[in-house]
Protein backbone atom coordinates (compact mmCIF):
# COMPACT_ATOMS: atom_id res chain seq x y z
CA UNK A 1 0.00 0.00 0.00
CA UNK A 2 2.67 2.47 1.06
CA UNK A 3 4.69 1.95 -2.10
CA UNK A 4 1.62 2.84 -4.13
CA UNK A 5 1.18 6.16 -2.35
CA UNK A 6 4.82 7.02 -2.83
CA UNK A 7 4.61 6.12 -6.48
CA UNK A 8 1.49 8.24 -7.00
CA UNK A 9 2.98 11.52 -5.82
CA UNK A 10 5.75 11.99 -8.41
CA UNK A 11 3.36 10.86 -11.13
CA UNK A 12 1.09 13.79 -10.34
CA UNK A 13 3.87 16.37 -10.41
CA UNK A 14 5.01 14.83 -13.69
CA UNK A 15 1.51 15.28 -15.11
CA UNK A 16 1.58 18.95 -14.15
CA UNK A 17 4.97 19.51 -15.70
CA UNK A 18 3.77 17.85 -18.91
CA UNK A 19 0.97 20.40 -19.15
CA UNK A 20 3.37 23.25 -18.39
CA UNK A 21 5.80 21.92 -20.95
CA UNK A 22 3.01 21.79 -23.55
CA UNK A 23 2.18 25.44 -22.94
CA UNK A 24 5.84 26.38 -23.07
CA UNK A 25 6.27 24.58 -26.39
CA UNK A 26 3.22 26.38 -27.75
CA UNK A 27 4.86 29.72 -27.06
CA UNK A 28 8.35 28.61 -28.01
CA UNK A 29 7.62 27.15 -31.44
CA UNK A 30 6.63 30.41 -33.20
CA UNK A 31 9.52 32.27 -31.48
CA UNK A 32 12.02 29.66 -32.59
CA UNK A 33 10.60 29.78 -36.12
CA UNK A 34 10.93 33.58 -36.21
CA UNK A 35 14.48 33.35 -34.86
CA UNK A 36 15.48 30.79 -37.49
CA UNK A 37 13.83 32.97 -40.18
CA UNK A 38 15.68 36.07 -38.91
CA UNK A 39 19.07 34.29 -38.92
CA UNK A 40 18.43 32.70 -42.31
CA UNK A 41 17.49 36.10 -43.77
CA UNK A 42 20.56 37.85 -42.32
CA UNK A 43 22.88 35.13 -43.59
CA UNK A 44 21.10 35.30 -47.00
CA UNK A 45 20.13 31.61 -46.89
CA UNK A 46 16.71 32.72 -48.09
CA UNK A 47 15.78 35.35 -50.64
CA UNK A 48 14.91 38.50 -48.65
CA UNK A 49 13.03 39.89 -51.65
CA UNK A 50 10.32 37.28 -50.89
CA UNK A 51 11.01 36.53 -47.24
CA UNK A 52 12.22 39.72 -45.56
CA UNK A 53 13.69 39.36 -42.05
CA UNK A 54 11.04 39.57 -39.29
CA UNK A 55 12.93 42.51 -37.76
CA UNK A 56 12.50 44.57 -40.94
CA UNK A 57 8.79 43.65 -41.10
CA UNK A 58 8.39 44.79 -37.48
CA UNK A 59 10.18 48.05 -38.32
CA UNK A 60 7.69 48.71 -41.13
CA UNK A 61 4.81 47.71 -38.84
CA UNK A 62 5.90 50.27 -36.21
CA UNK A 63 6.29 52.92 -38.86
CA UNK A 64 2.81 52.18 -40.25
CA UNK A 65 1.34 52.22 -36.74
CA UNK A 66 2.87 55.67 -36.14
CA UNK A 67 1.53 57.12 -39.37
CA UNK A 68 -1.95 55.77 -38.48
CA UNK A 69 -2.16 54.09 -41.88
CA UNK A 70 -2.35 50.58 -40.43
CA UNK A 71 -5.01 51.40 -37.85
CA UNK A 72 -7.21 53.23 -40.37
CA UNK A 73 -7.10 50.34 -42.84
CA UNK A 74 -7.71 47.77 -40.11
CA UNK A 75 -10.71 49.67 -38.77
CA UNK A 76 -12.16 50.10 -42.27
CA UNK A 77 -11.91 46.35 -42.88
CA UNK A 78 -13.37 45.52 -39.45
CA UNK A 79 -16.29 47.85 -40.05
CA UNK A 80 -17.09 46.18 -43.37
CA UNK A 81 -16.78 42.79 -41.73
CA UNK A 82 -19.11 43.71 -38.87
CA UNK A 83 -21.76 45.30 -41.10
CA UNK A 84 -21.60 42.42 -43.55
CA UNK A 85 -21.91 39.84 -40.78
CA UNK A 86 -24.93 41.65 -39.41
CA UNK A 87 -26.66 42.20 -42.75
CA UNK A 88 -25.99 38.64 -43.91
CA UNK A 89 -26.30 36.89 -40.56
CA UNK A 90 -29.57 38.23 -39.17
CA UNK A 91 -31.85 37.33 -42.10
CA UNK A 92 -30.02 34.00 -42.35
CA UNK A 93 -30.77 33.31 -38.70
CA UNK A 94 -34.47 34.07 -39.02
CA UNK A 95 -34.87 32.26 -42.34
CA UNK A 96 -32.86 29.26 -41.12
CA UNK A 97 -34.95 28.84 -37.98
CA UNK A 98 -38.18 29.29 -39.94
CA UNK A 99 -36.96 26.60 -42.34
CA UNK A 100 -36.22 24.32 -39.42
CA UNK A 101 -39.64 24.82 -37.85
CA UNK A 102 -41.83 24.80 -40.92
CA UNK A 103 -41.69 22.19 -43.67
CA UNK A 104 -43.33 24.52 -46.22
CA UNK A 105 -40.78 27.26 -45.72
CA UNK A 106 -38.12 24.57 -46.01
CA UNK A 107 -39.65 23.22 -49.22
CA UNK A 108 -39.58 26.70 -50.77
CA UNK A 109 -36.06 27.78 -49.81
CA UNK A 110 -34.10 24.54 -49.61
CA UNK A 111 -33.63 24.13 -53.38
CA UNK A 112 -32.71 27.82 -53.78
CA UNK A 113 -30.03 27.57 -51.14
CA UNK A 114 -28.76 24.22 -52.38
CA UNK A 115 -28.39 25.68 -55.90
CA UNK A 116 -26.65 28.94 -54.93
CA UNK A 117 -24.47 27.61 -52.12
CA UNK A 118 -21.86 25.90 -54.35
CA UNK A 119 -21.13 29.09 -56.36
CA UNK A 120 -17.69 30.31 -55.25
CA UNK A 121 -18.41 33.52 -53.40
CA UNK A 122 -15.35 35.26 -54.85
CA UNK A 123 -16.75 34.65 -58.35
CA UNK A 124 -19.67 37.00 -57.72
CA UNK A 125 -17.37 39.94 -56.91
CA UNK A 126 -17.66 41.40 -60.44
CA UNK A 127 -21.45 41.20 -60.14
CA UNK A 128 -21.29 42.88 -56.73
CA UNK A 129 -19.15 45.67 -58.21
CA UNK A 130 -21.61 46.05 -61.07
CA UNK A 131 -24.59 46.34 -58.74
CA UNK A 132 -23.13 48.20 -55.77
CA UNK A 133 -20.30 50.10 -57.43
CA UNK A 134 -16.84 50.71 -56.03
CA UNK A 135 -18.03 52.04 -52.67
CA UNK A 136 -18.71 50.35 -49.35
CA UNK A 137 -21.79 48.52 -50.63
CA UNK A 138 -19.96 45.94 -52.70
CA UNK A 139 -17.53 45.06 -49.86
CA UNK A 140 -20.28 44.71 -47.27
CA UNK A 141 -22.35 42.67 -49.72
CA UNK A 142 -19.51 40.21 -50.24
CA UNK A 143 -19.12 39.64 -46.51
CA UNK A 144 -22.90 39.34 -46.10
CA UNK A 145 -23.05 36.64 -48.79
CA UNK A 146 -20.19 34.78 -47.14
CA UNK A 147 -21.83 34.85 -43.71
CA UNK A 148 -25.34 34.12 -44.99
CA UNK A 149 -24.87 30.55 -46.17
CA UNK A 150 -23.20 28.91 -43.16
CA UNK A 151 -25.63 30.67 -40.81
CA UNK A 152 -28.78 29.74 -42.73
CA UNK A 153 -27.66 26.14 -43.18
CA UNK A 154 -26.59 25.73 -39.55
CA UNK A 155 -29.74 27.38 -38.21
CA UNK A 156 -31.92 24.92 -40.11
CA UNK A 157 -29.75 21.98 -39.08
CA UNK A 158 -29.73 23.19 -35.49
CA UNK A 159 -33.52 23.44 -35.27
CA UNK A 160 -34.05 20.10 -37.00
CA UNK A 161 -31.63 18.56 -34.54
CA UNK A 162 -33.65 19.63 -31.50
CA UNK A 163 -35.00 16.52 -29.80
CA UNK A 164 -38.71 16.17 -30.62
CA UNK A 165 -39.50 15.72 -26.91
CA UNK A 166 -38.77 19.44 -26.35
CA UNK A 167 -41.22 20.42 -29.07
CA UNK A 168 -43.77 18.06 -27.49
CA UNK A 169 -43.26 19.84 -24.17
CA UNK A 170 -43.89 23.16 -25.93
CA UNK A 171 -47.10 21.83 -27.46
CA UNK A 172 -48.25 20.27 -24.20
CA UNK A 173 -47.76 23.55 -22.35
CA UNK A 174 -49.52 25.41 -25.18
CA UNK A 175 -46.58 27.54 -26.27
CA UNK A 176 -47.62 29.64 -29.26
CA UNK A 177 -45.50 30.05 -32.39
CA UNK A 178 -43.60 33.03 -31.06
CA UNK A 179 -42.99 31.40 -27.67
CA UNK A 180 -41.82 28.22 -29.38
CA UNK A 181 -39.32 30.28 -31.37
CA UNK A 182 -37.89 32.09 -28.33
CA UNK A 183 -38.01 29.33 -25.73
CA UNK A 184 -37.26 26.22 -27.78
CA UNK A 185 -36.10 26.72 -31.37
CA UNK A 186 -33.58 29.51 -30.85
CA UNK A 187 -31.91 28.31 -27.63
CA UNK A 188 -32.06 24.67 -28.75
CA UNK A 189 -30.31 25.44 -32.02
CA UNK A 190 -27.96 28.09 -30.64
CA UNK A 191 -24.84 25.92 -30.27
CA UNK A 192 -25.07 24.87 -33.94
CA UNK A 193 -25.97 28.42 -35.01
CA UNK A 194 -22.88 29.74 -33.22
CA UNK A 195 -20.58 27.41 -35.12
CA UNK A 196 -22.30 28.63 -38.31
CA UNK A 197 -21.46 32.21 -37.33
CA UNK A 198 -17.84 31.31 -36.60
CA UNK A 199 -17.55 29.63 -39.97
CA UNK A 200 -19.26 32.59 -41.67
CA UNK A 201 -16.95 35.16 -40.06
CA UNK A 202 -13.95 33.15 -41.29
CA UNK A 203 -15.34 33.14 -44.84
CA UNK A 204 -16.18 36.84 -44.49
CA UNK A 205 -12.57 37.60 -43.62
CA UNK A 206 -11.35 35.83 -46.75
CA UNK A 207 -13.89 37.63 -48.91
CA UNK A 208 -13.20 41.09 -47.49
CA UNK A 209 -9.48 40.69 -48.30
CA UNK A 210 -10.30 39.66 -51.87
CA UNK A 211 -12.93 42.38 -52.36
CA UNK A 212 -10.59 45.10 -51.11
CA UNK A 213 -7.86 44.08 -53.53
CA UNK A 214 -10.08 44.95 -56.47
CA UNK A 215 -11.75 48.32 -56.62
CA UNK A 216 -11.09 49.66 -53.14
CA UNK A 217 -9.21 52.65 -51.79
CA UNK A 218 -8.88 51.46 -48.21
CA UNK A 219 -8.75 48.34 -46.05
CA UNK A 220 -6.22 45.62 -45.37
CA UNK A 221 -6.80 43.95 -48.74
CA UNK A 222 -6.13 47.29 -50.48
CA UNK A 223 -2.99 47.73 -48.35
CA UNK A 224 -1.66 44.32 -49.39
CA UNK A 225 -2.47 45.01 -53.04
CA UNK A 226 -0.69 48.39 -53.11
CA UNK A 227 2.30 46.75 -51.39
CA UNK A 228 2.47 44.35 -54.33
CA UNK A 229 2.20 47.22 -56.82
CA UNK A 230 4.99 49.17 -55.11
CA UNK A 231 6.96 46.00 -54.38
CA UNK A 232 7.01 46.81 -50.68
CA UNK A 233 7.24 43.23 -49.45
CA UNK A 234 7.48 44.18 -45.75
CA UNK A 235 4.17 46.07 -45.99
CA UNK A 236 2.61 42.99 -47.58
CA UNK A 237 3.69 40.92 -44.61
CA UNK A 238 2.32 43.52 -42.21
CA UNK A 239 -1.08 43.21 -43.93
CA UNK A 240 -1.01 39.41 -43.80
CA UNK A 241 0.04 39.54 -40.17
CA UNK A 242 -2.85 41.89 -39.33
CA UNK A 243 -5.39 39.59 -41.01
CA UNK A 244 -3.99 36.64 -39.06
CA UNK A 245 -4.29 38.62 -35.81
CA UNK A 246 -7.88 39.66 -36.59
CA UNK A 247 -8.79 36.04 -37.32
CA UNK A 248 -7.21 34.90 -34.07
CA UNK A 249 -8.80 37.63 -31.92
CA UNK A 250 -12.24 37.09 -33.48
CA UNK A 251 -12.04 33.36 -32.77
CA UNK A 252 -11.18 34.05 -29.13
CA UNK A 253 -13.96 36.64 -28.83
CA UNK A 254 -16.57 34.39 -30.45
CA UNK A 255 -15.58 31.53 -28.14
CA UNK A 256 -16.04 33.86 -25.17
CA UNK A 257 -19.37 35.06 -26.53
CA UNK A 258 -20.44 31.45 -26.96
CA UNK A 259 -19.58 30.68 -23.35
CA UNK A 260 -21.58 33.75 -22.32
CA UNK A 261 -24.77 33.12 -24.28
CA UNK A 262 -24.74 29.32 -24.03
CA UNK A 263 -24.11 28.79 -20.32
CA UNK A 264 -25.75 25.36 -20.41
CA UNK A 265 -23.21 23.90 -22.81
CA UNK A 266 -21.02 21.28 -21.24
CA UNK A 267 -17.30 21.94 -21.36
Amino acid sequence: MSTQTIAAAPEQSLALSVRARERLLGIASPIVLLAVWEIAARLHFIDTRFFPAPSSVIAVLIEMLRSGELITNTLVSLRRLALGALIGGMPALVLGIAMGLNRWVRAIFDPLIAATYPIPKSAILPLALLIFGLGEGSKIFMVAVGVFFPVVINSTTGVLGISSIYLDVGRNYKANRWQTFWTIALPGALPVIMSGFKLGIGIGLILIAIAEMIGAKSGLGYMIWTAWETFSVEQMYVGLFMIAIIGFVLTVLLNELERLIIPWKRD
Binding site: V169, G170, Y173, W264, R266
Partner: protein, 308 residues
Protein backbone atom coordinates in the same frame (compact mmCIF):
# COMPACT_ATOMS: atom_id res chain seq x y z
CA UNK B 1 -65.44 5.58 0.12
CA UNK B 2 -62.22 4.49 -1.48
CA UNK B 3 -62.21 4.58 -5.23
CA UNK B 4 -60.55 1.18 -5.07
CA UNK B 5 -63.70 -0.47 -3.79
CA UNK B 6 -65.64 0.30 -6.91
CA UNK B 7 -66.62 -2.47 -9.32
CA UNK B 8 -63.94 -2.69 -11.96
CA UNK B 9 -65.56 -4.62 -14.71
CA UNK B 10 -66.53 -2.37 -17.54
CA UNK B 11 -69.28 -3.68 -19.81
CA UNK B 12 -68.48 -3.87 -23.49
CA UNK B 13 -71.53 -2.06 -24.77
CA UNK B 14 -70.24 1.38 -23.87
CA UNK B 15 -69.82 2.55 -27.41
CA UNK B 16 -72.69 4.94 -27.90
CA UNK B 17 -73.62 6.69 -31.14
CA UNK B 18 -71.36 9.57 -30.18
CA UNK B 19 -68.39 7.24 -30.57
CA UNK B 20 -68.13 8.17 -34.24
CA UNK B 21 -67.68 11.79 -33.38
CA UNK B 22 -63.96 12.31 -33.74
CA UNK B 23 -63.68 15.70 -32.16
CA UNK B 24 -62.04 16.18 -28.84
CA UNK B 25 -64.76 17.64 -26.67
CA UNK B 26 -64.07 19.83 -23.76
CA UNK B 27 -67.27 19.65 -21.79
CA UNK B 28 -67.40 22.84 -19.84
CA UNK B 29 -70.54 21.93 -17.94
CA UNK B 30 -70.97 18.99 -15.60
CA UNK B 31 -73.58 16.92 -17.34
CA UNK B 32 -75.02 13.56 -16.37
CA UNK B 33 -72.84 11.05 -18.13
CA UNK B 34 -74.49 8.12 -19.86
CA UNK B 35 -71.78 5.70 -18.80
CA UNK B 36 -72.27 6.47 -15.15
CA UNK B 37 -75.04 3.92 -14.88
CA UNK B 38 -72.64 1.20 -15.92
CA UNK B 39 -70.00 2.41 -13.55
CA UNK B 40 -71.88 3.77 -10.56
CA UNK B 41 -68.76 4.60 -8.59
CA UNK B 42 -67.50 6.94 -11.26
CA UNK B 43 -70.17 9.50 -10.57
CA UNK B 44 -68.11 12.45 -11.72
CA UNK B 45 -65.86 11.27 -14.52
CA UNK B 46 -63.06 13.68 -15.25
CA UNK B 47 -62.19 11.77 -18.38
CA UNK B 48 -64.54 9.70 -20.49
CA UNK B 49 -63.04 7.67 -23.31
CA UNK B 50 -65.28 5.84 -25.76
CA UNK B 51 -64.27 3.34 -28.43
CA UNK B 52 -60.92 4.96 -29.05
CA UNK B 53 -58.97 3.64 -32.02
CA UNK B 54 -55.56 4.65 -33.24
CA UNK B 55 -53.71 3.20 -36.19
CA UNK B 56 -50.42 4.16 -37.77
CA UNK B 57 -50.59 3.11 -41.41
CA UNK B 58 -51.63 -0.53 -41.34
CA UNK B 59 -50.71 -1.01 -37.70
CA UNK B 60 -53.46 -0.81 -35.10
CA UNK B 61 -51.93 0.59 -31.92
CA UNK B 62 -55.15 0.97 -29.98
CA UNK B 63 -58.01 -1.31 -30.91
CA UNK B 64 -61.01 0.37 -29.33
CA UNK B 65 -60.87 1.22 -25.65
CA UNK B 66 -63.62 2.66 -23.45
CA UNK B 67 -63.29 3.68 -19.85
CA UNK B 68 -63.94 6.45 -17.35
CA UNK B 69 -61.56 8.05 -14.93
CA UNK B 70 -63.08 9.65 -11.84
CA UNK B 71 -62.21 13.12 -10.65
CA UNK B 72 -59.30 12.93 -8.23
CA UNK B 73 -58.55 9.35 -9.18
CA UNK B 74 -54.96 8.09 -9.40
CA UNK B 75 -55.41 5.94 -12.47
CA UNK B 76 -52.73 3.53 -13.56
CA UNK B 77 -52.31 1.91 -16.96
CA UNK B 78 -50.19 -1.24 -17.17
CA UNK B 79 -49.49 -3.24 -20.28
CA UNK B 80 -46.80 -5.05 -22.25
CA UNK B 81 -44.49 -2.94 -24.38
CA UNK B 82 -46.10 -1.90 -27.64
CA UNK B 83 -49.63 -2.09 -26.27
CA UNK B 84 -50.30 1.53 -27.18
CA UNK B 85 -50.35 2.90 -23.64
CA UNK B 86 -47.99 5.76 -24.46
CA UNK B 87 -50.04 6.52 -27.60
CA UNK B 88 -53.16 6.61 -25.45
CA UNK B 89 -51.56 9.10 -23.09
CA UNK B 90 -50.29 11.22 -25.99
CA UNK B 91 -53.81 11.37 -27.38
CA UNK B 92 -55.03 12.52 -23.96
CA UNK B 93 -52.27 15.14 -23.93
CA UNK B 94 -53.34 16.41 -27.35
CA UNK B 95 -50.01 15.43 -28.93
CA UNK B 96 -51.63 12.82 -31.20
CA UNK B 97 -55.10 12.57 -32.66
CA UNK B 98 -57.22 9.46 -32.41
CA UNK B 99 -58.20 7.66 -35.61
CA UNK B 100 -61.75 7.34 -34.24
CA UNK B 101 -63.62 7.47 -30.97
CA UNK B 102 -64.16 10.21 -28.42
CA UNK B 103 -62.43 11.65 -25.45
CA UNK B 104 -64.42 13.96 -23.23
CA UNK B 105 -62.51 15.84 -20.60
CA UNK B 106 -64.78 17.44 -18.07
CA UNK B 107 -63.58 20.75 -16.78
CA UNK B 108 -65.60 22.27 -13.92
CA UNK B 109 -67.41 25.47 -14.85
CA UNK B 110 -65.34 28.56 -14.18
CA UNK B 111 -62.05 26.68 -13.94
CA UNK B 112 -59.09 28.71 -15.15
CA UNK B 113 -56.76 25.74 -15.01
CA UNK B 114 -55.14 24.27 -18.08
CA UNK B 115 -56.60 20.95 -19.08
CA UNK B 116 -53.51 18.81 -18.63
CA UNK B 117 -49.78 18.74 -18.05
CA UNK B 118 -47.57 15.84 -18.94
CA UNK B 119 -44.51 14.40 -17.23
CA UNK B 120 -42.61 12.75 -20.03
CA UNK B 121 -40.59 9.60 -20.09
CA UNK B 122 -36.90 10.41 -20.42
CA UNK B 123 -35.27 13.81 -20.31
CA UNK B 124 -37.76 16.50 -21.18
CA UNK B 125 -36.60 19.50 -19.18
CA UNK B 126 -34.89 22.12 -21.33
CA UNK B 127 -31.08 21.98 -21.07
CA UNK B 128 -30.95 25.73 -21.83
CA UNK B 129 -33.06 26.79 -18.86
CA UNK B 130 -32.11 26.59 -15.23
CA UNK B 131 -34.25 24.66 -12.76
CA UNK B 132 -36.39 27.69 -11.88
CA UNK B 133 -37.17 28.63 -15.46
CA UNK B 134 -37.92 25.02 -16.34
CA UNK B 135 -40.39 24.73 -13.47
CA UNK B 136 -41.98 28.06 -14.41
CA UNK B 137 -42.36 27.12 -18.08
CA UNK B 138 -46.05 26.21 -18.14
CA UNK B 139 -47.05 29.27 -16.14
CA UNK B 140 -44.96 31.57 -18.35
CA UNK B 141 -46.47 30.14 -21.52
CA UNK B 142 -49.93 31.11 -20.31
CA UNK B 143 -48.72 34.52 -19.13
CA UNK B 144 -49.46 33.94 -15.46
CA UNK B 145 -48.78 36.96 -13.22
CA UNK B 146 -45.23 37.12 -11.85
CA UNK B 147 -46.36 36.86 -8.23
CA UNK B 148 -48.25 33.65 -8.96
CA UNK B 149 -45.27 32.20 -10.81
CA UNK B 150 -42.98 33.02 -7.89
CA UNK B 151 -45.35 31.49 -5.37
CA UNK B 152 -46.11 28.30 -7.27
CA UNK B 153 -42.59 27.60 -8.50
CA UNK B 154 -40.99 28.12 -5.11
CA UNK B 155 -43.66 25.94 -3.50
CA UNK B 156 -43.10 23.01 -5.84
CA UNK B 157 -39.32 23.34 -5.92
CA UNK B 158 -39.56 23.17 -2.15
CA UNK B 159 -41.79 20.11 -2.28
CA UNK B 160 -39.44 18.35 -4.68
CA UNK B 161 -36.35 19.25 -2.66
CA UNK B 162 -34.95 21.44 -5.43
CA UNK B 163 -35.13 24.85 -3.76
CA UNK B 164 -31.33 25.01 -3.38
CA UNK B 165 -30.82 24.13 -7.03
CA UNK B 166 -33.03 26.80 -8.60
CA UNK B 167 -30.06 28.32 -10.48
CA UNK B 168 -28.62 25.02 -11.64
CA UNK B 169 -28.69 23.92 -15.26
CA UNK B 170 -29.90 20.39 -16.04
CA UNK B 171 -26.42 19.13 -16.95
CA UNK B 172 -25.42 19.81 -13.34
CA UNK B 173 -28.22 17.56 -12.01
CA UNK B 174 -28.60 13.82 -11.58
CA UNK B 175 -31.27 11.85 -13.45
CA UNK B 176 -33.53 11.75 -10.40
CA UNK B 177 -33.27 15.51 -9.90
CA UNK B 178 -34.10 16.16 -13.55
CA UNK B 179 -37.25 14.09 -13.23
CA UNK B 180 -38.13 16.04 -10.07
CA UNK B 181 -37.90 19.26 -12.10
CA UNK B 182 -40.24 17.75 -14.67
CA UNK B 183 -42.72 16.87 -11.91
CA UNK B 184 -42.42 20.35 -10.38
CA UNK B 185 -43.06 21.88 -13.83
CA UNK B 186 -46.24 19.84 -14.27
CA UNK B 187 -47.59 20.51 -10.76
CA UNK B 188 -46.69 24.21 -10.84
CA UNK B 189 -48.84 24.62 -13.94
CA UNK B 190 -51.78 23.42 -11.80
CA UNK B 191 -53.62 21.42 -14.49
CA UNK B 192 -56.95 19.65 -14.14
CA UNK B 193 -55.30 16.37 -15.10
CA UNK B 194 -51.75 15.15 -14.69
CA UNK B 195 -50.45 12.77 -17.31
CA UNK B 196 -47.38 10.72 -16.46
CA UNK B 197 -45.62 8.54 -18.99
CA UNK B 198 -43.35 6.12 -17.14
CA UNK B 199 -41.65 9.05 -15.44
CA UNK B 200 -39.41 6.92 -13.24
CA UNK B 201 -38.48 4.15 -15.65
CA UNK B 202 -34.94 5.45 -16.25
CA UNK B 203 -34.10 5.73 -12.56
CA UNK B 204 -32.35 3.23 -10.34
CA UNK B 205 -34.49 1.30 -7.85
CA UNK B 206 -33.60 3.41 -4.81
CA UNK B 207 -34.19 6.76 -6.48
CA UNK B 208 -37.39 5.42 -7.98
CA UNK B 209 -38.72 4.55 -4.51
CA UNK B 210 -37.88 8.02 -3.19
CA UNK B 211 -39.57 9.76 -6.08
CA UNK B 212 -42.64 7.58 -5.85
CA UNK B 213 -43.02 8.53 -2.20
CA UNK B 214 -42.46 12.21 -2.98
CA UNK B 215 -45.01 12.07 -5.76
CA UNK B 216 -47.58 10.60 -3.36
CA UNK B 217 -46.84 13.34 -0.84
CA UNK B 218 -47.29 16.11 -3.40
CA UNK B 219 -50.36 14.46 -4.83
CA UNK B 220 -51.95 14.18 -1.36
CA UNK B 221 -52.02 18.00 -1.16
CA UNK B 222 -54.60 18.46 -3.90
CA UNK B 223 -55.59 14.99 -5.13
CA UNK B 224 -55.57 15.87 -8.79
CA UNK B 225 -56.75 13.41 -11.40
CA UNK B 226 -53.68 11.45 -12.51
CA UNK B 227 -53.26 9.13 -15.45
CA UNK B 228 -50.00 7.25 -14.91
CA UNK B 229 -48.46 4.77 -17.31
CA UNK B 230 -46.04 2.16 -16.10
CA UNK B 231 -44.70 -1.24 -16.99
CA UNK B 232 -43.95 -1.92 -13.33
CA UNK B 233 -46.67 -3.85 -11.53
CA UNK B 234 -45.24 -2.84 -8.13
CA UNK B 235 -45.37 0.83 -9.06
CA UNK B 236 -48.96 0.48 -10.23
CA UNK B 237 -50.02 -0.93 -6.87
CA UNK B 238 -47.92 1.53 -4.82
CA UNK B 239 -49.42 4.56 -6.43
CA UNK B 240 -52.77 3.80 -7.98
CA UNK B 241 -56.40 3.81 -6.91
CA UNK B 242 -57.30 1.68 -9.88
CA UNK B 243 -55.22 -0.17 -12.43
CA UNK B 244 -56.17 -0.78 -16.03
CA UNK B 245 -54.39 -3.76 -17.58
CA UNK B 246 -54.03 -3.56 -21.36
CA UNK B 247 -53.66 -6.37 -23.85
CA UNK B 248 -50.75 -6.77 -26.25
CA UNK B 249 -50.98 -4.96 -29.57
CA UNK B 250 -53.57 -3.97 -30.63
CA UNK B 251 -54.08 -2.39 -27.21
CA UNK B 252 -57.43 -3.12 -25.60
CA UNK B 253 -58.72 -3.10 -22.06
CA UNK B 254 -58.03 -6.48 -20.47
CA UNK B 255 -59.35 -5.75 -16.99
CA UNK B 256 -59.51 -3.24 -14.16
CA UNK B 257 -58.07 -3.95 -10.75
CA UNK B 258 -58.97 -1.76 -7.79
CA UNK B 259 -56.34 -1.04 -5.17
CA UNK B 260 -58.17 -0.91 -1.82
CA UNK B 261 -55.10 0.14 0.12
CA UNK B 262 -55.62 3.07 2.50
CA UNK B 263 -54.00 6.46 1.96
CA UNK B 264 -51.74 8.15 2.77
CA UNK B 265 -49.50 5.27 1.81
CA UNK B 266 -45.97 4.52 2.93
CA UNK B 267 -44.51 2.45 0.16
CA UNK B 268 -42.16 0.43 2.34
CA UNK B 269 -44.94 -0.40 4.81
CA UNK B 270 -47.17 -1.37 1.92
CA UNK B 271 -44.93 -4.26 1.04
CA UNK B 272 -45.76 -5.97 4.33
CA UNK B 273 -49.51 -5.87 3.74
CA UNK B 274 -50.99 -9.23 2.64
CA UNK B 275 -53.30 -7.43 0.15
CA UNK B 276 -50.24 -6.07 -1.58
CA UNK B 277 -48.91 -9.51 -2.46
CA UNK B 278 -52.35 -10.63 -3.62
CA UNK B 279 -52.75 -7.62 -5.88
CA UNK B 280 -49.32 -8.07 -7.42
CA UNK B 281 -50.11 -11.72 -8.03
CA UNK B 282 -53.45 -10.94 -9.58
CA UNK B 283 -52.11 -8.31 -11.96
CA UNK B 284 -49.18 -10.44 -12.93
CA UNK B 285 -51.42 -13.38 -13.83
CA UNK B 286 -53.50 -11.04 -16.03
CA UNK B 287 -50.40 -9.61 -17.61
CA UNK B 288 -48.38 -12.75 -18.19
CA UNK B 289 -50.33 -13.99 -21.21
CA UNK B 290 -50.17 -10.53 -22.76
CA UNK B 291 -46.43 -10.20 -22.27
CA UNK B 292 -46.03 -13.65 -23.78
CA UNK B 293 -48.20 -12.65 -26.75
CA UNK B 294 -46.23 -9.41 -27.20
CA UNK B 295 -43.03 -11.41 -27.32
CA UNK B 296 -44.40 -13.80 -29.92
CA UNK B 297 -45.47 -10.83 -32.06
CA UNK B 298 -41.98 -9.39 -31.84
CA UNK B 299 -40.46 -12.72 -32.84
CA UNK B 300 -42.82 -12.96 -35.80
CA UNK B 301 -41.97 -9.45 -36.90
CA UNK B 302 -38.27 -10.23 -36.66
CA UNK B 303 -38.71 -13.39 -38.77
CA UNK B 304 -40.69 -11.42 -41.36
CA UNK B 305 -38.08 -8.70 -41.43
CA UNK B 306 -35.41 -11.27 -42.11
CA UNK B 307 -37.41 -12.82 -44.96
CA UNK B 308 -38.12 -9.45 -46.54
Amino acid sequence: MLPGTMPHDLPNDLSKPDAMNQTRTNLRKVEPVAAAEHQPAVAQPAIRIRDLHKSFGGLTAIGGVSFDIARGEFFMIVGPSGCGKTTLLRILAGLETATSGTIAIDIPAGSERPENAMVFQGESIFPWMNVWNNAAYGLRMRNAPASLIRERVSHYLDRTGLARFADYYPHQLSGGMKQRVSIARAFANDPEILLMDEPFSALDAQNKLLLQEELLHIWDEQKKTVVFITHSVDEAVYLGDRIMVMTAQPGRVKCFVGVPLPRPRAIIELQKAPEFGELIHRIWSELRDEVQRAREQENQDAVQDNKG
